[in-house]
């Protein structure tokens, strides 16, 4: 497949009449480049979106690009335009009555594996409680690790071997995960 620049893709897609096969290639190029950006941006703006709704939104946004690409859109502004379309469609989706949505937000949402926004906040709160319970020296160890301090220096200050530092890191992670799970169990009990 020939590699088009954004500018060429837009020129092909706004040509009148356009050649179907080449136009498809141009759209595939744009999709390949920016579909991930669009998806992530929508997910960031609307963390409550379910996968199926997100798929629908992205699909509809790209169809708009295919059908209504404005010839005045400059290549540099294409991404902003794409995100704006996605954003408008997301707002439309939220305004639409639930029974008119293509996907229902029913029980199966609860089965989705991806942690949703609320779960994420709950996890962060639980993590906070677990960190507070942790011994101060381990808390300081984590602080230094995330402060990107030199491993050799940390090992020397803790009077441990460098290889032990990596083990400690792994143990701290395990401890925190166990604590969070117990916390969640305690909450659900």
């Amino acid at each position: 497949m020939p590699s088009f620049s954004d500018h060429e893709c837009l020129a092909i897609l706004t040509a009148e009449p356009r050649e179907q096969a080449v136009a498809e290639q141009a759209l595939a190029t744009l999709h390949d480049r920016y579909s991930r950006f669009l998806r992530l941006r929508l997910l960031r703006s609307y963390p409550g979106l379910r996968d199926a709704d997100l798929d629908e939104l992205c699909q509809e946004t790209w169809l708009r690009v295919w059908k209504h690409l404005d010839c005045r859109i400059r290549a540099e502004a294409f991404r902003s335009w794409l995100f704006r379309i996605g954003n408008h469609l997301a707002i439309d989706l939220f305004r639409r009555p639930r029974n008119q949505r293509e996907t229902s937000w029913g029980e199966r949402d609860a089965l989705e594996s991806r942690a949703n926004h609320v779960d994420m906040i709950a996890d962060a709160e639980q993590l906070q409680r677990c960190v507070e319970k942790m011994p101060a020296r381990l808390r300081e160890f984590v602080h230094r690790l995330l402060n990107l301090e030199d491993d050799d220096q940390i090992a020397a200050d803790m009077e441990k071997k460098k290889s032990r530092i990596y083990q400690i890191k792994s143990e701290v992670k395990e401890m925190l995960l166990n604590c969070m799970e117990r916390g969640h169990e305690a909450v659900s009990a």
């Binding site: 999709h31 963390p47 699909q59 169809l63 962060a124 402060n147």
Partner: protein
Amino acid sequence: MRLLALDIPDDPELLAGWLEGHLMGTDLQELVAELSVLKRPAEGAAAILPQVLADKADDLLLLGLRSLSRAQLRQLLQQPRLLLELQELVFERGGEYWISVPMNLEAAEHSKKSWQRLQESIRNKQDDSATVPRTAAFRTWLWAGTGWLAAMAAGVALFFVRVDQMHQLEKQLAQQASEIASLNKDLLAQRSVAPADLPEWDGQVINATSDPIDLPDDDPIDLPERN
């Protein structure tokens, strides 16, 4: 249950790549939430993204996080909210490097499926639009045909109206001819019963010169002048 922040690579060389993966992944918010809890409590005023990136902003958009110093990466981890701002910046202005950051399996699968669905929709739409010209042509032909038929029908109707008018005129003529014939008959009949001893008449009924009574006697008298 997972803890992304403590998966931070032991090798400093891998740090930029690890962070880029999260910037281009679906779990950045999760990482930001964890880092906010696990980092050292903030001291001093929080920096804003342009301050942290300083003169490396353009390099970062072109070359990725490898263009940042360790101190700059540290600032990003210590103020994790900046990672969200950085993600936005990359979405808006990130160059080819960011587009080519490897996707995780889930993202790659999403992208593939999304394109397949999109291609299918486009081709279905194309099929629909291919039938539109045929329908339009048929409709045009139908309209044209209907127009001709209507014109012909109007012509035929006009012809019959004219023929009917001619028939009515012929009828009127025939009626008038028969009336004239009957009047002629009456006239002839009346002539045949007229008296035969009426005096013959030749000459004038009134002759002014031979009948002076009809003339004025004299000129009228002039009326007196008015003073």
